[in-house]
Amino acid sequence: MAYPYRHEKETRILSECFGDPSARTVAGWKKHGGYKGIARALEIGRDATIEEVKASGLRGRGGAGFPTGLKWSFMPKNTGRPHYLLCNADESEPGTFKDREIIRWTPHQLIEGCLVGCYAIGAAHCYIYLRGEFFETTQILARALEEAYAEGLVGKDIMGSGVDIDITLHVGAGAYICGEETGLMNSLEGRRGEPRIKPPFPAAVGAFGMPTTINNVETLAATPHIARHGGEWYRQWGTDKSPGTKLFCVSGHVNKPGNYEFPLGFPMMELIEDVCGGMRDGKALKAVIPGGSSVPIMSAEDCRTCTLCYEGVEAAGSMLGCASVIVMDENTDIVKQVRRMAYFYTHESCGQCTPCREGTAWATRILRRIEDGLGTEDDLDTLIQISEQMTGTTICVLSDSLAMPIISSIEKFREDYLALIRRGERVGAA
């Protein structure tokens, strides 16, 4: 079967039209029930829309898993000031490629989601902040947005409702930290992409100093379905704490990597063994990073009983994050993998906070030295202490994002580190 890979066990809500270019037009999208979600939202009103989203239990798909309806309800009412909805399409977490697919195949799904979000929080303007490297995606979305404007779905008096909602595309310059919500706001405003200190929170002082809500692409894409069918409908999938369906971006050493949509709570091993066609070349599973590069690494043992929902992955000692499942087989060099990731975070640290600016770079240099066979066992203790000093001490969580993989990899794969250290000792390098 050609890309994108599909599997009969999938529950396709968001990904129904993946692989079908005809859904990129307004007419094509309407054939799949498009723009009925915003129509119903306009019909039931602002507060009822928020209530539906609250009832659905939808949690933010960007990684933190914060309840979306609750987030929307934080927006102040009757401030007399402009409100903004920001759509975070700066998908930059290594291993993640779900937002790009949503926009590529179903741009109107996102546009409709933005309309629902804007309407619910009383915003007349939505900015979609696109990752700088998304050339094709941006073109597809721009074309779709143009058509939506022409059809009266976006702009003044949308669908004859008297509500004005504008959507602006903003293409970033490709910085990881601009995917952090307040870093994104600074970047959008033309400043350096540096996260802001909270409080004040975006709902009080956000983009351009105005009340702002910021949501991930996948979150917003789910809201038209919830608005159309109701919150209870969405709850038929998933677990009590993690309702609904979710796209899982599987990459690494499996036979059929790709985006697969399942209700939350789907067993991890079933995803790897069955849906993705098993490990590549029949190798044994060594480790899995379940939620994008910034979550703790899981050993094969941790994966046995793990179910892919927020609470399930947490129980297995990691985090669901944005459900970017990176699968690694027995031949994987864990130290090299962690070092390469550490280099990524060093490169992407904005440099504001000292623990992150200095800690990421220092950790990378130590990891490099260990990889080169020049490490000592003391270095592992230093790495763990550096990581602890980088946890919870900064404005945003970028340094925590490196600390977690370092700590977990040393805890779970200490032998891999020690092997390199000993090999270095044997050849007299250290």
């Binding site: 910085a175 930290i177 350096r192 200190i197 060093t346 490169h347 992407e348 640290s349 904005c350 440099g351 504001q352 906070c353 000292t354 623990p355 600016r357 200095e358 800690g359 990421t360 770079a361 220092w362 240099r365 130590i366 030295r369 230093t382 202490q385 550096i386 602890e388 000093q389 919870g392 001490t393 900064t394 404005i395």
Partner: protein
């Protein structure tokens, strides 16, 4: 903290086991300061916004999930804060270790050594030995233009300098370039800080030796400098400063905080103009006699002779020339002496004026004034009239040809020739340097500069401000107020002033504008004159 404050305006919290009541909206950092607890900080500066990015002011707040930056966390009722808990200390030690990962530790050749916050904090609670084995990254140094040199390797990236230029100078010439551990401070264009008029302040607020003054580069070690509270003598704003001296020479001027006058800042013009205080070739001993008859003397003989000449001259026409660089005490005594010695025709002074003012946009009460002397306003209040042009020249025609008693104090008469005072019945010259125009003086009396004496100036806001003695005067120089006050006392039979405080008290007595002020009351921060004047 006062009991009469309404309850809603204050909050009471516990810091390190001590209860403290502070105004609402005060940060934990300041609340701790009120208790005498210094929480280390780099990026926070009271004159700038707080980005909370240096992460060294983290403190433990009971009930909070993680350590809180004390510079932006507001004090709340009932809060229990620990600045010295194991967690807070461990985290500070960790952050300090990070600061040293790339810091060159070149303290022995660093100008900041001795007053460096990184040195202080690491000495207080840093790790005994570093664990870094990796080579440090090297940026080298960068000439930012103006008087500022940047050592990127020493930088702690607190961004105080960038924020000063953006928020206070409103002249965004600095920025952070690159990111992560490659981030450095840089200028946008080749010209850098050239022509910026307040950029010197970034050297002051840099907590480490990353930004240093080219003028001061390797000139003195911080611990060898004596600090003297003073007032900037280079314009009528009168920014509060410290004279930093060593070997009886002024090495640099640094702003001293005064929220009513200059905040934490001073201008580059004022800061750069101090070498005249170190100028050699001073008048060191009194001299008596006109022209070729001039002979060196001593104070006892000179003053005695001068007293007799003044007593003889009783009822003569008197003209006095003062200076806007002279203290109120000197000018007040000069005026009183002029009135006592005969009929005072006029008291005049000359002073340079710049073409325009130069305000500090983010702190608008600080303005580099047009008047480029510290006591223009004091001279005015004490009855002196400004004469001459904006270059501080001319305007002395009447004085030059005066045939009565002529007393010149503090004006070097640089634009006058040897005929000045030739017709005067008695010509007295009190100055710091000899002058061709003093050739006809019957008495040449050496006096101190403002840095060598105590006294007061009145600034353009109508504020009386005290300066203290930072240098020893050369030879036998005396303060002008002492010389003039002694003569006045001899003529009137009154008490002679023995301190600048006495001299000040007699001005307060004679001039209503100074009403109600006391020497101690003026203190270090100064005091506003009667509203009637201001």
């Amino acid at each position: 903290m006062a009991d009469n404050g309404r309850k809603a305006d204050t909050v009471t919290l516990t810091i390190d086991g001590h209860e403290v009541t502070v105004p609402k909206g005060m940060s934990l950092l300041h609340a701790a300061e009120a208790l005498g607890v210094e929480v280390p900080h780099y990026c926070y500066h009271p004159g700038l916004s707080a980005p909370a990015q240096c992460r060294i002011c983290l403190v433990e707040v009971e009930g909070a999930p993680k350590l809180q930056p004390s510079c932006v966390t507001m004090a709340q009722d009932g809060q229990v804060v620990h600045t010295e808990s194991a967690q807070a200390r461990r985290m500070r030690q960790g952050v300090l270790e990070f600061y040293l990962v790339n810091h060159p530790l070149d303290c022995p050749i660093c100008d900041m050594s001795g007053e460096c916050k990184l040195q202080d904090y690491v000495f207080n609670e840093g790790r005994e030995h570093g664990r870094g084995r990796e080579p440090k990254r090297v940026f080298g140094r960068d000439d930012f233009g103006g008087d500022v040199l940047y050592y990127g390797d020493r930088c702690v990236m607190c961004t105080r300098c960038v924020r000063f230029m953006d928020e206070v100078a409103r002249d965004g010439r600095l920025t952070v370039v690159e990111r992560g551990d490659r981030a450095v401070i840089d200028t946008f264009f080749e010209s850098g800080l050239d022509g910026a008029s307040f950029a010197g302040n970034i050297v002051d607020i840099c907590p480490v030796g990353a930004l240093v003054s080219k003028d001061f580069l390797h000139k003195a070690r911080a611990w060898d400098l004596d600090h003297t509270e003073s007032v900037c003598p280079n314009c009528s704003q009168g920014c509060n400063i410290d004279l930093h001296t060593r070997d009886n020479l002024v090495q640099r001027l640094k702003p001293r905080e005064n929220p009513e006058v200059n905040g934490h800042w001073m201008c580059d013009y004022g800061r750069a103009n101090y070498e005249w205080l170190n100028r050699p070739g001073r008048l060191e001993a009194p001299a008596v006699g006109r022209g070729d008859k001039r002979r060196a003397s001593d104070w006892q003989h000179a003053l005695h002779a001068l007293f007799e000449r003044l007593a003889e001259a009783g009822g003569a026409s008197v003209r006095v020339v003062g200076s806007a660089f002279s203290s109120n005490e000197a000018l007040g005594a000069l005026r009183a002496l002029g009135e006592q010695a005969g009929t005072l025709q006029a008291g005049v002074f000359r002073s340079r004026r710049a073409e325009d003012e130069d305000p500090l946009p983010g702190f608008p009460i600080l303005v580099r004034r047009r008047d480029l002397a510290p006591n223009v306003d004091g001279a005015g209040i004490l009855g002196f009239t400004r004469v001459g042009d904006d270059d501080g020249a001319g305007g002395l025609e009447e004085a030059a040809d005066h045939d009565g008693v002529l007393i010149v104090v503090g004006d070097e008469l640089a634009d006058q020739d040897e005929s000045f005072g030739a017709k005067a019945g008695l010509f007295v010259y009190l100055g710091t340097f000899d002058s061709p125009a003093a050739r006809n003086a019957d008495f040449v009396l050496p006096v101190t500069t403002f840095a060598e004496e105590e006294g007061t100036f009145v600034n353009a806001q109508g504020r009386v401000q005290r300066f203290r003695q930072g240098l020893r005067g050369p030879g036998t120089v005396q303060p002008a107020w002492l010389v003039l006050g002694t003569l006045l006392a001899a003529l009137t039979g009154g008490d002679r002033p023995v301190s600048a405080a006495d001299a000040f008290a007699s001005i307060v007595q004679r001039h209503a504008a100074f009403g109600g002020l006391t020497w101690d009351g003026v203190g270090s921060a100064g005091a506003a004159l009667e509203a009637a004047h201001a």
